[in-house]
């Protein structure tokens, strides 16, 4: 053989690989990459840079460097919002994760009665804007609350106390989903081993259970922290004079028209949100597979004390959640809470916000957000995963960036970008389209990562087999990739729809006359003192969310029945990063 001649040094081999001639389908592939890059640039990076740039300018548009930041930190009244935000977020985080851990433990590790019902009730807060939990607490513990009236004792719900309470309820299902997943993924053999070694239940809990869920706990903490620090609805409704960063942005922008300070606070708010997500990603990277194919799922044993203890605990929490929603429903259906409990439907006329227009706008925007968001995240994930170019890494980073952008910041960024005289992008301002875009980008990352996971679970050789058979990639995408990922695709669209229905922060700056949304209407009516109508609108939002969720459930049953012929029994799909919705 020509061995001697071939033993050249590595440097003799050119660094560039031989180029392949472009086929027609390669042009489509490249066009998709470019298109995806343009979308991410235009709606993520460019607006974000706008906010950062704006924070460096004075009110007259001259460059002032860090002067705005000095003013922000130097004005105690505004700077207080930073510490308030951090304090509220940390306290809510600890309480939420502790409470939901017990609840998740009851659901997964005991045989308490009513587990199915408890699971459903705990998910209720997912269907309401964060504002709604705050309203519920006001209806019960506020100055005119039913509890306050009945006992004559005012707990002083307005302020930090109320924010924490509302946030705990709002974040509870998010933390619960993560912890239930973590507690379910366990190997019964570890518990068998602990028992045969004579470990006490406490020792087993500390050495087997807790280490097994530590990554879930970390994730739950970061998710809750981010949710709280970026939330606008609850602190707006119940915070009173207690200012947090999200409400500070709103005050600066909407109240004082001080866009510069709004941008400055926004950039500061970006820091904890970006940090939390990135740290979580680094931590999760060290996660190892606890559950392998040889694992045996843990079947909880009957332990009367644990079962009934768990039942009592979960009943208490589920009762509180259900009670909250009951309070809202009743509030919306009686003449004048808490003085006159005559049933009436007149609060459902929504006369102050022009009838049902906001609600239908919301449904329309949510449905389109679901369609556009699903297509964009799935095709985007496909482009990044399957059309490998040197840009793939950068595109991936841009695609996971939105989860770190608080809704308020995104909204403000879109004002700067799309409400600019003379800009071609101006046409979007004041339309429903910009609301759809902001929802799609706001919730982009979770959809994108879900799609990426679904794509990575598929055999990487599908595309190669198609190429060898002369079948263009888009045909295989349509005939194989999409059908196989259908459960994930339906899940992603559901995620977009439900979040678009309840979000407030990303759209509060972007609604215009004619494009009001239901969640914003709740805020406006509450502000205007039409609290009963605000409650009624909340009920409508929740009802639509539940109805769509029910349809989704039926659809998924249909999908799995249609595909059970070819899907292996183990093939279950989940939203891997369900918790990450800011």
């Amino acid at each position: 053989m020509a061995r001697a001649a071939s033993d050249g040094p590595a440097s003799a081999i050119p660094d560039r690989t031989v180029r392949h001639r472009l086929a027609g389908e390669d042009l489509i592939r490249h066009a998709l990459v470019v298109l995806f890059a343009i979308v991410l640039y235009l709606f993520v990076l460019y607006p974000l840079l706008h906010v950062i740039w704006r924070s460096l300018l004075g009110p007259d548009g001259a460059f002032v460097g860090l002067a705005n930041y000095r003013r922000y930190f130097g004005t105690p009244a505004i700077a207080a919002s930073i510490w308030n935000s951090l304090a509220v977020s940390l306290v809510s985080m600890v309480i939420t994760v502790a409470l939901s851990f017990g609840y998740a433990y009851g659901l997964t590790r005991t045989l308490m009665p009513g587990r199915g019902l408890f699971r459903i009730v705990a998910m209720l807060p997912l269907f309401a804007p964060s504002l709604v939990q705050a309203l519920a607490f006001i209806y019960v513990f506020g100055n005119n609350g039913i509890f306050t009236r009945a006992t004559g004792y005012n707990v002083g719900i307005y302020g930090a106390k109320g924010i924490v309470l509302a946030e705990v309820f709002y974040c509870f299902p998010h933390a619960l989903l993560i912890l239930v997943a973590a507690l379910s993924a366990t190997d019964a053999r570890l518990y068998d081993a602990a028992r045969t070694l004579g470990a006490s239940p406490l020792k087993t809990f500390l050495t087997v259970t807790l280490p097994g869920v530590k990554f879930g706990l970390v994730s739950a903490c970061f998710v809750v922290f981010t949710l709280v620090i970026t939330d606008f609805g609850a602190p707006k409704a119940i915070g009173g004079k207690f200012s947090v960063m999200a409400t500070e942005i709103y005050n600066q922008v909407s109240g004082q028209q001080n866009f510069t300070m709004g941008a400055t606070v926004s950039v500061v708010l970006l820091i904890p949100a970006v940090l939390a997500f990135q740290v979580d990603r680094v931590v999760q990277r060290r996660r190892y597979a606890l559950v392998t194919s040889s694992s045996r799922p843990l079947a909880p044993a009957r332990r009367p004390l644990a079962d009934w203890g768990g039942f009592g605990y979960c009943a208490l929490i589920a009762g509180a959640i259900a009670g909250m929603y009951l309070a809202i429903a009743v509030y919306s259906l009686v003449a004048r809470w808490p003085y006159n409990f005559t049933p009436t439907l007149r609060h459902y006329r929504f006369d102050t916000v022009g009838g049902y227009t906001p609600l239908w706008n919301s449904v329309y925007v949510s449905a389109l957000s679901a369609v556009v968001g699903t297509v964009l995240t799935f095709v985007g994930a496909y482009v990044v995963e399957k059309c490998r170019t040197r840009w793939s890494g950068a595109l991936y980073l841009l695609a996971v960036l939105p989860v770190s952008i608080p809704g308020m910041v995104l909204g403000l960024a879109y004002i700067f970008t799309f409400n600019k005289a003379g800009s071609a992008l101006n046409v979007l301002y004041g339309t429903l389209a910009i609301l759809i875009i902001s929802n799609v980008i706001h919730y982009f990352t979770v959809g994108f990562l879900t799609a990426t996971t679904a794509l990575r679970q598929m055999d990487a050789e599908f595309e190669n087999v198609s190429a060898s058979l002369g079948v263009p990639f888009y045909r295989t995408f349509w005939r194989v990739t999409v059908p196989m990922a259908l459960p994930s695709i339906v899940g992603i669209s559901m995620y977009f729809f439900l979040n678009a229905m309840v979000t407030l922060s990303a759209v509060v700056f972007l609604v215009a006359p004619g494009t009001e949304l239901a969640a914003v209407a709740v805020l406006l009516m509450d502000d205007a003192g039409d609290t009963a109508q605000a409650a009624a609108m909340s009920v409508c939002i929740i009802a639509i969310g539940l109805a769509v969720r029910l349809a989704y459930w039926a659809l998924m049953r249909g999908v799995s029945r249609r595909t059970q012929a070819w899907r292996e029994p183990a093939g279950t799909t989940t939203l891997p990063v369900e918790g990450w919705k800011t």
Binding site: S6, R16, V18, R21, F462, A467, L469
Partner: protein, 363 residues
């Protein structure tokens, strides 16, 4: 190689080199494969065999070198324009399509009449013996059946070249054995030029017309299975293909002789070697003569350290007189009974000079 001048080589590789960063995966591979030939790329993992296959397929791009197919330079062509079928270890069957739709997948985009496609699908399913499973989904079939479907799918558009990337590695031993014969018979019948990548030397010996033994990105040896087995060109090939004993020795004064400790041995090398050169002698365990047939030449007395019963034969671990563990010797089960050997007992043996291969000393 022996491609006749009239017909161009089915696959011709010239100076193929591939780098991943600073890691050199392939160094100037040159090779020619004749039409209808079944060639195996054999080597340990990381030797570059799969990379080479993927470069031929156009799935990876080489840093240098030319790929020819049937006299046509395809180096710059994307996979879809190279006209080959490929079967992967993972089968890569489309799980949501029936067996028939999988097999017909490559036919449906070409402008072929529907009835003709159905006819071709039936033909191929009959060829791999799975006509009865036409309407099933891949998940309902066994691993071996799935791999046969993948084979049928690759062959459906009648490609000029069939590429098999470790096609049998995911299957259990018994299925692997039978599929080996089946693939080989099918390939003979269709006469399609085939390249198979494998790390299983037995598979390569059993199936290939020619084996390309690779290591660290270079071709160590190319040859028919018997040639590679009987006349390995390097200690690596000797060790990787089959079992081999290695004995350190020095070249003797007489040509064709070497000194192994105190014993003079005659070996099979014909070219002259300077006296005193350090050598490695190599002999396969089944080539060692024991029992009644032991001759006077190249005779050694060894001690049996361990006896391993392996079914059809028994493997003896033998220590040389100086005590070093040195030789493994395979004795047919029938012959072993007559040997009366036990662990710790002495065993006389002789090494046939023709079987004693000579390599330069390692390191």
């Amino acid at each position: 190689m022996s491609a006749d001048a009239a017909r161009p080589a089915a696959v011709g590789l010239d100076g193929i080199a591939k780098k991943f960063g600073q890691f050199v995966a392939l160094r100037g591979i040159t090779l020619s494969i004749s039409p209808g030939e079944f060639v195996c790329f054999l080597g340990p993992s990381g030797c570059g065999k799969t990379t080479l296959l993927r470069i031929i397929a156009g799935l990876d791009r080489q840093n240098a070198g030319v790929v020819m197919m049937g006299g046509r330079d395809v180096s710059a062509l994307p996979p879809s324009q190279r006209n080959y079928g490929i079967v992967f270890q993972s089968y890569a069957l489309f799980p949501n399509l029936t067996v028939a739709r999988n097999v017909g997948y490559g036919l449906e985009t070409r402008s072929v009449a529907k009835a003709q496609i159905e006819g071709r699908i039936d033909e191929l399913l009959a060829l791999v013996g799975l006509a009865a499973h036409k309407q099933k989904y891949p998940a309902q079939l066994s691993g071996g059946e799935q791999q046969r479907i993948a084979l049928a799918r690759a062959l459906a558009p009648s490609p000029a070249l069939l590429l098999l990337d470790e096609p049998l590695s995911a299957l259990d031993a018994r299925v692997r054995q039978s599929l080996r014969h089946e693939i080989r018979a099918l390939q003979r019948r269709l006469g399609v030029t085939t390249i198979m990548v494998t790390h299983d030397q037995e598979e390569a010996l059993a199936m290939a017309d020619r084996i390309v033994v690779m290591n660290h990105g270079v071709v160590e040896q190319v040859g028919a299975p018997v040639e590679v087995y009987m006349r390995p060109r390097s200690p690596f090939v000797a060790r990787f293909v089959g079992q081999m004993n290695f004995l350190e020795a020095t070249a003797g004064d007489r040509a064709g002789w070497a000194r192994l400790g105190a014993v003079e041995m005659r070996h099979g090398a014909t070219e002259p070697i300077a006296a005193g050169t350090r050598l490695t002698l190599a002999i396969r365990p089944e080539e060692i003569t024991v029992g009644a047939a032991v001759g006077a030449e190249n005779r050694l007395v060894t001690r049996i350290r361990a006896i391993q019963f392996l079914g059809s034969f028994t493997r003896l671990s033998l220590a040389l007189p100086d005590g070093a563990p040195a030789l493994e010797c395979d004795v047919a089960a029938t012959a072993f009974a007559g040997l009366g050997a036990a662990e710790g007992s002495e065993l006389a043996l002789s090494l046939r000079p023709e079987a004693l291969r000579v390599f330069p000393a390692a390191g």
